[in-house]
Amino acid sequence: MQPYKYILLKPDYYSFITDAGTEYHCYFFTAEEIFSEYPALAKKAYAFNLSLKDNISFQKGLDKRIAATVTDILKIFLHQKENAVVYICDNSDSREKARFHKFYHWFKQFNDGSIVQLRGVIRAGNTNILNALLIHKDNP
């Protein structure tokens, strides 16, 4: 399965266009506030988002190349072995469980074993936050 060719718009985001013409943006942003009690870790912590360039509905059907592309970008980002990436499932539309499972299966299918994925559900207030922590297997 070949990932889509993506463009790196340094230092902000990655972009790719699917066969159906949908443009996606992948970006990593600092998430130091999560680990503020652990300053050394906080400097290496990033959160990850995947979003559509234009606010249009997702294409119907399954395009596995999207999964291959996103996994590829994450692997490259985590190749810098000290980085850690947190994926927090958006719950605005109550579809966080679907995102949680989709992300897990994307990674299960396309991870070459170099990335460790730790999934969890954290209760905060009245909200269950579905999240995953991704690190390189050789992360010190």
């Binding site: 902000d12 943006h25 990593f28 980002f77 905060a124």
Partner: protein, 64 residues
């Protein structure tokens, strides 16, 4: 005659807002703040703000 429609400008929150908010809570609550920040960035981009705009507000992005 079409009525005038005034669009509200998307609020520009500084990154420090989320850092200070997270500093006031402990443990799992910090993840709630991170989720709020994630949603804010996503919505800001969908509502016309650019990565440059967000960087001016203090948000930091990374690529390799």
């Amino acid at each position: 005659m079409s009525p005038l429609v005034k669009h509200k400008e998307f609020p520009r929150l500084k990154a420090i807002y989320f850092i200070e908010k997270a500093a006031k809570v402990k443990g799992p609550e910090k993840l709630l703040v991170a989720l709020e920040k994630s949603k804010y960035i996503s919505e800001a981009l969908q509502n016309g703000l650019s990565f440059s705009d967000l960087k001016e507000l203090g948000f930091k992005f990374a690529t390799v």
